[in-house]
């Protein structure tokens, strides 16, 4: 395990998570959430939980991002707060 890589991915997780809730553009938030999921997937596989990482990659980074984009497409891109 390379701790520098670990640290970089952990930082990316935090940055993506904060960005996902603070961005006003909902489409951007959906994309940031997908990036967050992908970083979590990398973390899981670093920790050796390959099955969880696979699920995170397919569900979190894949399909749920599509669902978010579809929901944004059908509603609004701007948040009120």
């Amino acid at each position: 395990m390379i701790w520098q890589l670990d640290l970089i991915i952990l930082l990316m997780v935090v940055v993506c998570g904060v960005a996902a809730i603070s961005i006003r553009d909902l489409l951007g938030a959906a994309i940031m959430f997908g990036a967050y999921s992908f970083m979590m997937c990398l973390l899981w596989s670093i920790m050796g939980a390959v099955d969880v990482s696979f699920t995170e990659a397919s569900v979190g980074a894949g399909v749920s991002t599509v669902f978010f984009v579809a929901a944004v497409f059908r509603t609004t891109r701007r948040t009120s707060d």
Binding site: D51, F54, T55, G62, V66, A70, A71, F73
Partner: protein, 276 residues
């Protein structure tokens, strides 16, 4: 309200952070989980079920009851999207758009107008239609079969490698969603209609439940696949391996259908007329 939320997050975050030092280290051999729970599965999974991937064996066999209700949760998520969007959204759009293929003209047909449904010269288009890109169309057309094949591999090879019904089902559903995005929603619903995706979703859950009930009928406990060994050509160990495969296939079908079903309802806001 926002400040209150921030304070609550900081307090509970600090609490979690301080408690996390009490947790055993990652991979600690002396932790309770490593001394009492894991050794049984590590030592007995292969002789009990002949499945090399311990995670698959635990999910579908030792903890099969959990996974049954996880599948039911996925199905009820699809059902919730259906009830929230489809029931209120079932009204025909005000106008439909048709494209005359030989000339490239677009016709706007108001509600109640005569629609050229059967004519080959007209093609129904979305209200936000853009000319389809050849590169995107061809790439998706080429990639979709391989994604589907990979999904089937993930389901079938879950005994030996990471993966299983859940991941494979999601990948298969993603391939169908990619097809729906690259073409349009109607050409996708022509191939897998909303009705059949709902039926497949409930069918997948019923395959899982039916396997469990079959085990009861054959004289074992609920979801104890070794009961299937009364069937010809199976001993208790390989019966458990095959039982896991049947259950994974059920999960895969259910998850695929529910993902597509949710996408149909979300992308069309419940009308099932126009998608992304």
């Amino acid at each position: 309200m926002k400040r209150l939320g921030l304070v609550a997050v900081i307090i509970f975050g600090a609490l979690l952070f301080s408690v996390s030092f009490e947790l055993p280290d990652l991979g600690d051999a002396q932790s309770p989980a490593s001394t009492h729970v894991s050794p049984y599965y590590i030592e007995h999974t292969l002789e009990d079920t002949s499945v090399p991937n311990i995670v698959t064996a635990i999910l579908a066999d030792y903890r099969g009851y959990d996974t049954l209700f996880e599948t039911a949760v996925i199905f009820s998520a699809g059902l919730a999207c259906f009830f929230l969007l489809r029931i209120t959204g079932r009204k025909a759009p005000k106008a439909r758009f048709y494209r005359h293929l030989p000339t490239g003209l677009t016709l706007r047909i108001e509600k109640g107008g005569r629609l050229p449904e059967e004519s080959r010269e007209f093609e129904r288009i979305d209200s936000v239609w853009v000319p389809s890109d050849v590169i995107i169309n061809m790439t998706c057309r080429l990639v979709v079969p391989f994604i589907q094949l990979f999904a089937l591999y993930v389901i079938a090879h879950g005994h030996h490698s990471p993966g299983g019904g859940f991941q494979g089902g999601v990948i298969f559903g993603a391939a169908l969603i990619l097809f729906a995005i690259s073409n349009n929603l109607r050409s996708s619903t022509r191939r897998l209609s909303e009705r059949s995706s709902a039926l497949l979703g409930s069918g997948g859950v019923l395959i899982y439940l039916g396997t469990g009930l079959l085990c009861i009928l054959l004289g074992a406990g609920f979801l104890n696949y070794s009961g299937l060994s009364v069937l010809p050509g199976l001993d208790p160990v390989s019966a458990r391996s095959h039982g896991i495969l049947i259950v994974e296939i059920g999960v895969g079908i259910a998850v695929t259908a529910v993902m597509v079903w949710i996408y149909y309802n979300l992308a069309s806001a419940g009308t099932q007329e126009e998608g992304l």
